[in-house]
C-alpha cells in the first residue's frame, strides 16, 4: 500500500495520456493557481480553513490533574479553489484525515474557523445542511463506507431525495442511471440493483463517488480515495476524478500519503507533520525542491530514478537559491531525521519536528515558525528560511 | 483502583434504587391497598395495632409528609427495621428473614458451586472431544433440560424420587418431626438429606448454561497460538487442556457468574416453594399468599441486597484473576 514508487504513471505501459495530463497541469499553473497573498487572486477561495485547531479529549484516568487530549491539528490553514486540486500529504497520524473531517464538518474544530465563500460557517441545522450541499466527502475504505444492508439504488437515492433533486420514483431512477453512467459503471441498470458485497473495490469506490456527485457539490474532500484499491485500478479512479473536476469545475482536497498520486492529481501540494502544516506550494516545486527538512525526509524516502545519486546536487541548489548564512552550512546534509512521529498527547513544543530535525535550533523548541514565502506560491514554516529579524524577534520574546 | 471505586459507586446506586423502589411502589398502587387488605381481614380478629401497622406499611399516614416518611424509612432500613409482618403479627420482618436467609444461602451456594464445577468440567471434556458423539448429543439434551421451567422439574423430581421411589424427602429443610435444630449429627444429616433434591433440581436447570459457555470458550481458546505453543513444547494433553486452555477460557465464565446468580436465585425461589424449603423464597411465597406486603418487600430487599453484594464480590474476584484489568486496560 505504501507505494514508494513516485512514477506510478510510468509503470503503466504505453499510457501516453499520463504525460499529457502532467504537462497540462503544469501549463495550467498560471491560470488556476492563485497562491495566498503574493499575487493577485484570479479566483476567490471557495473553502478556507483558517488557523484550525482540533483537540480530542481523552477520558482522564487521573482524578486530579489537567485533562489530557490528543492535539491532532494545530494552527492549520489552507484554501481550496474551484477547478483546482490540492493534495495534503503526510504520514499516518499527521492529522491530514482530521483536517479533512474538520472541513467535512464531521468533527467540530476546537479553534480556528472554516469559511465558505469567505463567510464563516454556522452551527445550526440549516447552515449545516446548506454546507453539506456544497461540500462532500469521499471516504478511504470502499469496503466500509457503503452500508452492507442497502443496495446501490438506496445509497444514490438518499442523496437525491435529501436535497430535493428527485421527487418521484421515475426521476430518481433516471438520475441514478445518469450518475452511474457518469462514473463509468455501465450497463447502468445492471448495477442499480446490486448490493455492496456483490461489487469489487473499484466499483464500490465509484458508487461512493456517484453518491457524492448526486448531491452536486462544489467542493469534494477525498480522503485517500485510491489507497485501498488495487494498483491497477487506481489510475482509472484518479482519471475519473480528474475528469469530474474538469467538467464540474470542482475544488478538490486530495488526502494521500502517496507522493506519486499527489503529483499526478493535484496542482498544489501541502505537507503536514504531527498536526502542523510544514510546507506548501505548486506540486512540482514542492516535490522537486522540498525546503522543510521533513519534506526532504519524506521525499527522499520515495525512490526516484531521476534524482538517485544526485542528492548532493539538490542541496547545492538550495545554497544557490537562498544563500543566507544558515543555509550555506547545510552543505551535503542528507536529512537523517530518524525516528517516529511524536505522541500527539504531549507533542514537542514549538515546531513539532525539532526532535528529529538535523538542523534544529534552540528557537525551534520554543516557537512555531510563521509562514515564510519562498516565491512562486511556495511557502514553508521553518526557522531555517525565516528572515533574521523574525528569528531574533522570536527568540527574544 | 479508580475502576473499583467507580464500580462500588454503581453498586451503591443500585442499592439505593432497590430501597427506594420498595418505598415507592406500594404508594403508587391504584386504589387503596391498605384499606382493601384491612377489609379482607375483618373476618378475622384484628387489633388496633395491626391496623396501624398495615397503614404504616403502606404509608397511608396523611399527617407525615412524604419526604419525611422516606427518610424514616431509610433510617429504619439502616437499623434493620423492615417493618412488622402482618401475617405473623407481631414478628418483625427482619427476624423472619434472619431465619430464612441461611437456608437459601446454603441452597444457592451449594447449587452454584456444584453446577459451576460440574458444568465447566463437562464443557472442557466436550470441547476436547469435539466432533465425537458427546458433542452432538449432549448440548441439545442439556438445552432441552434447561428450557424446562425450574419448578416443573422440581415437581417432577418430587413425584419420581419422593412419592414413587421414596428415596429422598421432599418437604422442608430438615425432618421437623424428629429432629430439632442444633449442631448435632442428626440435624446436619437431616439437613443434607433434605437438601439433595432441591440442589439437584437447581443443578440440572443451570448445568446447560455452564457447559455451553465453557465449551464455546474452550473451542475458541484451543485455536489460539499459545495453546499451539504449549503443544509444540511437548506438554501432556491434560496439562495443555487444564493449565493453558481452561485457565484462560474460564474468564468469561466468571463474568457469567453474575448473570448465573440472578438465574439461580429465581430458580431457588421456585424450588423452595415446591419443596417447602424454609428459605427466603418460601417466605416470599407465604407473604404473597397472605397479602403480607411488609414481608414481601422485606424479602425482595434482602434478595436484592444479596445479589448486588454478590455481583460486587464477583467483580473483585475478576479483577484479581484478569491481569489485563489489574493493569488498567480501559
Amino acid at each position: 500500500m505504501n507505494s514508494n514508487n513516485p512514477e506510478i504513471a510510468r509503470e503503466v505501459p504505453g499510457n501516453t495520456a499520463v504525460t499529457d495530463v502532467s504537462n497540462r497541469t503544469i501549463a495550467n499553473f498560471s491560470q488556476t493557481f492563485a497562491p495566498a497573498g503574493e499575487e493577485k487572486l484570479s479566483k476567490e477561495p471557495i473553502l478556507e480553513a483558517v488557523n484550525l485547531k482540533k483537540d480530542f479529549p481523552l477520558r482522564s484516568i487521573k482524578l486530579f490533574g489537567p485533562a489530557q487530549a490528543v492535539h491532532a491539528v494545530e494552527d492549520t490553514s489552507l484554501a481550496l479553489y474551484p477547478g483546482k486540486a490540492t493534495a495534503l500529504v503526510g504520514e499516518s497520524g499527521s492529522g491530514k484525515t482530521t483536517v479533512a473531517r474538520l472541513l467535512g464538518r464531521l468533527h467540530e474544530p476546537t479553534g480556528g474557523e472554516i469559511r465558505f465563500h469567505g463567510e464563516p460557517v454556522g452551527n445550526n441545522h440549516q447552515s449545516l445542511r446548506a454546507y453539506r450541499r456544497h461540500v462532500q466527502y469521499i471516504f478511504q475504505d470502499p469496503f466500509s463506507s457503503l452500508n452492507p444492508a442497502h443496495g446501490v439504488r438506496y445509497h444514490l437515492a438518499r442523496s437525491l431525495r435529501l436535497y430535493g433533486y428527485a421527487h418521484n420514483a421515475h426521476e430518481e431512477r433516471e438520475q441514478i442511471l445518469a450518475l452511474l453512467e457518469r462514473v463509468n459503471l455501465t450497463p447502468a441498470d445492471h448495477f442499480i440493483d446490486k448490493f455492496p458485497h456483490q461489487l469489487s473495490g473499484g466499483q464500490r469506490q465509484r458508487i461512493a463517488i456517484a453518491r457524492v456527485l448526486a448531491v452536486r457539490p462544489s467542493v469534494i474532500l477525498a480522503d485517500e480515495p485510491v489507497s485501498m484499491l488495487d494498483v491497477s485500478i487506481r489510475l482509472d479512479v484518479l482519471n475519473l476524478l480528474l475528469r469530474l473536476k474538469e467538467e464540474d469545475d470542482l475544488a478538490f482536497l486530495f488526502i494521500t500519503h502517496d507522493i506519486a498520486s499527489a503529483r499526478y492529481f493535484a496542482e498544489e501540494t501541502l505537507v503536514m507533520y504531527a498536526g502542523q502544516m510544514v510546507e506548501g506550494g505548486p506540486t512540482e516545486e514542492v516535490i522537486q525542491h522540498p525546503r522543510h527538512p521533513y519534506s526532504q525526509l519524506l521525499l527522499s524516502a520515495a525512490p526516484d530514478p531521476d534524482t538517485m545519486g544526485h542528492k548532493k546536487a539538490t542541496n547545492d541548489a538550495f545554497d544557490k537559491r537562498t544563500g543566507t548564512k544558515a543555509q550555506a552550512n547545510m552543505g551535503d546534509a542528507t536529512p537523517s531525521g530518524r525516528g517516529e512521529p511524536p505522541s500527539l498527547i504531549n507533542p514537542p513544543g514549538g515546531c513539532r519536528f525539532h526532535p528529529r530535525c538535523p538542523h534544529a535550533m534552540p528557537v525551534c523548541r520554543q516557537y512555531r515558525p510563521e509562514r515564510t514565502n519562498l516565491g512562486n506560491g511556495h511557502w514553508t514554516h521553518c526557522f531555517l528560511y525565516s528572515k533574521r529579524e523574525e528569528v531574533s524577534r522570536a527568540s527574544s520574546t | 483502583m479508580r475502576y473499583l471505586f467507580r464500580r462500588a459507586g454503581f453498586y451503591l446506586i443500585a442499592l439505593w434504587a432497590a430501597v427506594t423502589f420498595n418505598f415507592i411502589i406500594p404508594r403508587l398502587m391504584p386504589g387503596d391497598p391498605a384499606e382493601a387488605y384491612i377489609a379482607k381481614l375483618q373476618t378475622q380478629q384484628i387489633t388496633r395495632a395491626q391496623i396501624d401497622a398495615i397503614r404504616a406499611e403502606f404509608g397511608v399516614n396523611p399527617h407525615v409528609p412524604i419526604w419525611k416518611q422516606y427518610l424514616d424509612y431509610l433510617n429504619g432500613i439502616l437499623h434493620g427495621n423492615l417493618g412488622i409482618s402482618t401475617s405473623q403479627f407481631p414478628t418483625p420482618v427482619g427476624d423472619i428473614l434472619k431465619q430464612s436467609l441461611p437456608w437459601t444461602i446454603g441452597l444457592v451456594g451449594a447449587a452454584l458451586v456444584l453446577s459451576f464445577f460440574i458444568g465447566t468440567l463437562i464443557g472442557i471434556l466436550i470441547a476436547w472431544k469435539r466432533g465425537s458423539w458427546y458433542d452432538t448429543a449432549v448440548p441439545p439434551l442439556l438445552t432441552f433440560l434447561s428450557a424446562i421451567p425450574y419448578f416443573w422439574m422440581a415437581l417432577g423430581l418430587v413425584y419420581i424420587f419422593g412419592v414413587i421411589l421414596n428415596w429422598f424427602p421432599t418437604d422442608s429443610g430438615y425432618d421437623v418431626f424428629n429432629v430439632s435444630p442444633g449442631w448435632s449429627m442428626d440435624f446436619i444429616g437431616s439437613v443434607v438429606q433434605h437438601a439433595i433434591l432441591p440442589v439437584i433440581t437447581l443443578i440440572i436447570g443451570s448445568l446447560a448454561g455452564w457447559v455451553l459457555i465453557m465449551r464455546n470458550m474452550m473451542v475458541t481458546t484451543l485455536s489460539e497460538d499459545y495453546v499451539l505453543m504449549a503443544e509444540a513444547k511437548g506438554l501432556s494433553e491434560r496439562s495443555v487442556m487444564f493449565h493453558y486452555a481452561a485457565r484462560n477460557a474460564i474468564l468469561p465464565s466468571i463474568t457469567s457468574f453474575s448473570i448465573a446468580l440472578g438465574l439461580i436465585v429465581s430458580g431457588a425461589l421456585l424450588t423452595e416453594i415446591v419443596y417447602n424449603y424454609p428459605g427466603i423464597g418460601y417466605s416470599l411465597y407465604k407473604g404473597v399468599q397472605s397479602d403480607d406486603y411488609a414481608l414481601v418487600e422485606g424479602c425482595f430487599l434482602v434478595i436484592a441486597l444479596a445479589v448486588i453484594f454478590a455481583n460486587f464480590l464477583f467483580e473483585l474476584i475478576y479483577v484479581f484473576l484478569d491481569p489485563r484489568v489489574r493493569h488498567g486496560k480501559k
Binding site: F139 | A147, G156, L222, E237
Partner: protein, 324 residues
C-alpha cells in the same frame, strides 16, 4: 441462560441483505436446512395453530365442570380432568391462547424498549449514554423474578391482575434490560463504521441514521433477543400464575399448574394435572431456544467453521490410541 451454540454442522447461510425476494427465499432455505431451526419453528407453529384452532379441537368449555372430581385420562377426556371436573385438554388448548398472547405482547413491548434504549444510548453517547446505561445496569442487577413477584403481587392487591396485559407489562418491565445492554454493545461498534460517518456526511439526520443505517444491520441480533425474551416471558408468566398471581379464574398453562399444586395433586398421585401443561411449556421453551441456537449458527459463520487445529489434536490422540 442465553448462550450460543457451536456445532460443526454444515448449515445454510441466512442473509438479511439483498432484495426482498432474496431474503424470503434465504429464510425459507435456512428453516428447512438447519435441523435446529426446523424443529423450533415447527414446535412454535404447532402451538400457535392449536391455540387458534382451540374450539375445533375440543367440544368442552375449559371452565365448565363436566364431571365430578379429578379423573385420570380416558377416551372422553384425553388429559383427564381437574379437581373441579374441568377437562384438562380443553384447558390446555384454550390456555395456549392466554399463555402465548401474554408472552408475545410482553416480548414485543420489551423488544421495542430494548431497541429504543440500547440504540439511543449507544448512538447519542455522552451524557445520554451515561444516564441510560446507568438505568440499564441498575435494572440488570436487580433480581428479576423477585421483582416480578413483588410487582405482580402488588398488582393483584388492587385487582389489576385480572387484566392479563398488566402481567405482560410487569414482565416487560423486568426483562428489557438484558437485551438493551446487548444491543447497546452492538450499536457502539456499528456506529464507528464508516458508512455511518458517510451517512452523516451526506446530510442524514440522526434519527434516520439510527433507523435506516444502523438498525437494518442489527436485525439478526434483534430477532435473537426477541426470541430469548419470549422464552423468558413464557417462563416468568407461568411462574407468576403458578404462584397464584395471575388471573386464577382464566385457564392458562400456569394456572392449570396452580390449581394442581393447590389440590396437592402430585402427592395424591394425580399426575395428569401436572404433566401435560408442564410438557407443553417445556416443549415451547425448548423450541424457541432451538430457534435461537439455529439463528446463531446461521448469522455467525465462525460458529460453523471446523478448526483444523482441533482435528489435529484429535487425530494425534487417536493415533496414540491406535498404536497401543
Amino acid at each position: 441462560m442465553q448462550v450460543t451454540n457451536i456445532t460443526n454442522q454444515k448449515t445454510a447461510s441466512i442473509t438479511f441483505l439483498g432484495s426482498k425476494k432474496d431474503r424470503v427465499s434465504s429464510i425459507f432455505r435456512a428453516i428447512t436446512s438447519n435441523p435446529k431451526i426446523a424443529f423450533g419453528v415447527s414446535v412454535v407453529t404447532f402451538f400457535v395453530l392449536i391455540a387458534i384452532a382451540a374450539p375445533l379441537l375440543t367440544p368442552y368449555d375449559p371452565n365448565a365442570s363436566i364431571v365430578k372430581g379429578s379423573l385420570p385420562p380416558s377416551w372422553a377426556h384425553i388429559f383427564g380432568t381437574t379437581g373441579l371436573g374441568q377437562d384438562i385438554f380443553a384447558q390446555i388448548v384454550y390456555g395456549a391462547r392466554v399463555t402465548l398472547m401474554v408472552a408475545f405482547v410482553a416480548a414485543i413491548g420489551s423488544t421495542i424498549l430494548q431497541v429504543v434504549m440500547g440504540l439511543s444510548s449507544a448512538y447519542y453517547g455522552g451524557m445520554v449514554d451515561e444516564v441510560l446505561s446507568l438505568i440499564i445496569n441498575v435494572f440488570l442487577v436487580l433480581p428479576g423474578l423477585p421483582l416480578t413477584i413483588v410487582l405482580a403481587s402488588l398488582a393483584s392487591a388492587s385487582g389489576a391482575n385480572k387484566n392479563e396485559f398488566v402481567i405482560a407489562l410487569v414482565l416487560l418491565f423486568t426483562s428489557w434490560s438484558y437485551g438493551a445492554r446487548v444491543l447497546r454493545a452492538q450499536t457502539l461498534s456499528l456506529k464507528e463504521r464508516e458508512f455511518v460517518a458517510a451517512a452523516r456526511a451526506t446530510g442524514e439526520s440522526s434519527l434516520l441514521i439510527i433507523s435506516s443505517e444502523i438498525l437494518p444491520n442489527e436485525v439478526s441480533l434483534i430477532a435473537s433477543t426477541f426470541v430469548g425474551t419470549f422464552v423468558y416471558a413464557v417462563g416468568a408468566e407461568v411462574a407468576l400464575e403458578f404462584l397464584g398471581l395471575g388471573d386464577t379464574s382464566r385457564p392458562s398453562w400456569g394456572v392449570i399448574l396452580y390449581w394442581a399444586q393447590n389440590n396437592a395433586a402430585l402427592i395424591v398421585g394425580k399426575w395428569w394435572q401436572f404433566v401435560p401443561a408442564g410438557i407443553c411449556i417445556a416443549l415451547l421453551c425448548a423450541g424457541l431456544t432451538f430457534i435461537n441456537f439455529g439463528m446463531d449458527e446461521l448469522s455467525n459463520p465462525r460458529l460453523r467453521v471446523e478448526r483444523p487445529l482441533r482435528r489435529h489434536l484429535i487425530s494425534r490422540k487417536s493415533k496414540a490410541v491406535a498404536s497401543r
